[in-house]
Symmetry: C2
Subunit: 513 residues, 2 copies
Amino acid sequence: MNGAAAVITTAVRAGVDTCFANPGTTEIHLVGALRESPSIRPILCLFEGVCTGAADGYARMAGRPALTLLHLGPGLANGVANLHNAQKAHTPVINLVGNHARRHLNNDSILASDIAGIARPVSVFVRQTTVVEDSARDFAAAHRAAVEHLGVATLILPADVQWSELKGDQASPTLRGSHRTYDSRDVATAAAALRAARPAALLLGGNALLERGLVAAGRIQAAVRCRVFCTRAPARIEAGPGIPIVERLGYFPEASAAQVAGVGCFVLAGTDNPAAIFAYGDGPTHVIPHDRHVVELARPLDDATAALEALADELAAPAPVLTARRRPELPGGKLSSRNLADTLAAVQPDQAILVDEANTSAANLFEAAGAARVTYLGLTGGAIGIGSPLAIGAAVASPDRPVIAVQGDGSAMYTLQALWTQARERLHVTTVICANRSYRILDVERERAGIARLEGPAATLIDLTDPTIDWVKIAHGMGVEGSRAATPRELSEQLSASVAAEGPHLIEAVLET
Amino acid sequence: MNGAAAVITTAVRAGVDTCFANPGTTEIHLVGALRESPSIRPILCLFEGVCTGAADGYARMAGRPALTLLHLGPGLANGVANLHNAQKAHTPVINLVGNHARRHLNNDSILASDIAGIARPVSVFVRQTTVVEDSARDFAAAHRAAVEHLGVATLILPADVQWSELKGDQASPTLRGSHRTYDSRDVATAAAALRAARPAALLLGGNALLERGLVAAGRIQAAVRCRVFCTRAPARIEAGPGIPIVERLGYFPEASAAQVAGVGCFVLAGTDNPAAIFAYGDGPTHVIPHDRHVVELARPLDDATAALEALADELAAPAPVLTARRRPELPGGKLSSRNLADTLAAVQPDQAILVDEANTSAANLFEAAGAARVTYLGLTGGAIGIGSPLAIGAAVASPDRPVIAVQGDGSAMYTLQALWTQARERLHVTTVICANRSYRILDVERERAGIARLEGPAATLIDLTDPTIDWVKIAHGMGVEGSRAATPRELSEQLSASVAAEGPHLIEAVLET
């Protein structure tokens, strides 16, 4: 057994079953090891940002990490933006990155680079294996770091470590899982605070947003009449009929400030005090003002679900009020950013996984999602180009559920190579491209900054109309069926047909501006 | 004047006239400053890897840096792979990257990241401006670093540094250019070594490969009958009728080892002893074996042209032997990797700029390029996805010359967003997609590594046939005219038509395998 086989064998023992890959010469022995390990499904992505975003989506749905397989520093670098999103989502991801043979590491060959340096800003764990005997143990350490610290672990494997034969028995390292907990004293503190303050609020994030945590939060709300908020861009939240209602915080700082203005006490579960997306002028930098009482019930890596359940029990809380089904009417007229979310909500099916990278084109997508019982996946790190890859991972992890990825056109362009993998793997993903044909957010921010309307050459920096992108042709070019919708009726018919069919489909929703 | 305007004004003073941009909220004041600076042409790219590759291509042709404008850590990260190529090419590039307002830097907002950490592995200069009064001076330092150290300079500008007003007069920093030189004692040493050794060789790279350096090398060759080699993947080399003949080193270490086997003495100009692309088994790690005599006439940052001219004069060298025009016959039959380079050479025009990311599909593209007087731009850093962006930059810098970008299909997929910018800017670029529909190099490397032919799921890791990518549809979707060629005749006709027309065109060259 060589080092590559030791790594892949250990991954199998750890329960890894999926590898999103774009390997090169320095990973060829890991490819050889995958050849011999049929229990790991290799999925080729034609750009590394697709690999890393897909691994994120997989873990958000499966609750366990997938592998990526990336080629040296440049391959890893191409995946960094979506690894940034994964880190902010607290998603476990394990990158395997090849490197030159050890005696060639410092020779300034054309593909030599500081791989660990590239990995560090987006990893909770970075290690290069230096002797073949450590390869299994190093993989186990990477796996443990990803699962226990809920983030990205990057293991760098020199080519000769992969190809060298292990002497004697292979190492068989212990694989430990996550053992998150919470402090039971904080439960009593939170209960007292919620009873005393009027009004108080729960502010939820991270692992508080799965069904059990939300039900516990709903019970607490029923007991003490507090508000219940969630972070703006959750990694994953359950929503819709049967799930308690949660108010999502606004995007701009003044919007969230208005939401929480009257709240005197906040109990945090699964999140810290969220930072503002940007600091404008001398405006607020955090959602919760300095002068409010804050109880940290469960920090992001704690078991927020168990903490919330304990708190509900402590309060002897009754059953929660659940969201009632409320399907909006299908809007009339032309499609626009004002009616896109309602149009989708009018037809989206229960059990759908809704990937939201709509940005300005459907800012209320989450709020409208309550029309059906869905799982919502958000843009956690603000690095655009995650949606289509995330949809791949979600569809691989949950093959029985339809995935609907709602994508700004500017964002979708970043990682459009994902369409090809959706076609190859016959994934049940419907991509809705919100074709407003501009970087609309930039014009909003220009106005907020008090800069005059862009004219002349600078105006081209936010305009996507020259040439107009034909998403249907691009989809066809990648092997994905495509269609175009200009009205809510057309979009609803095409979406219903796509959800009822198999395999991927892309709908270019042309938005009136 | 605010900090953003101070930076852009200083860039104008430094002679910068082009900015490849994909800005976001934290760069909006730089966008505002560009609005007021019509002498800098802003060019929108729909992915940052396109911005950075285009800036590389621009500087290779123009001989001076362009700006990129990138959004925070994720935007920069998306550009890192092509910045790696630019660093290996010794190309000056200046990245402007926005950051949060200073008081928001450490608040763990969703877009917070270690921007300097992301930049460092691919920059000769990284600085974050901390007070608005330093903004012009910091830009000048970045410009100087890029030009003098021939690499990537990254200047990070917090949003509030951009928007704050300068008090009093703006700083007007000195802008110095490059002052590279060489050591004249090395000229005498090299002359003596070349006279004494039989056979000896010149090994050229970097700035030795422009016309003057090559003519000087040709004179030296005529004087002492030495061999003349160049590095495998030069950033830029002139070639064809009127230029002395140069032997390019082979891709695999055993190929270059065979080329240089009998050479006892090497004179290096514009390069160090090149490292092997990869180290295989216990094979060589460098082109020049340890036991040979080496004279470093001009290191990569020295003025190799002047050093070669001084050496030619020292040797009282006669006129060089120049390449004679030799057009290959147009091959018959179907297109394949075996006849693609000759097919292109049969019709490519003088003055063309040839961008080579063909990889296995046309390994002898450079050698065949001698049919016409062309400028050849190579894949310096091995990070694929550079060709289409490089073609943008070359076309912007040299609008009167046709650009022919020969692209492996796997490589082209990495940064296909470049097609849209080619369409928007009406650039005279012909993209030839070498559609072999596989990661062919990986199968070659698998065989070299002694791994059995890939079967089952692992075989999908090198195969691009399911689904087949329809490049003509993708081009149309991006606003670029496209056509498909299956024979040398079809390709030659389509290429000739495209070169004679205006604006971009894509040809999918379907290769028989």
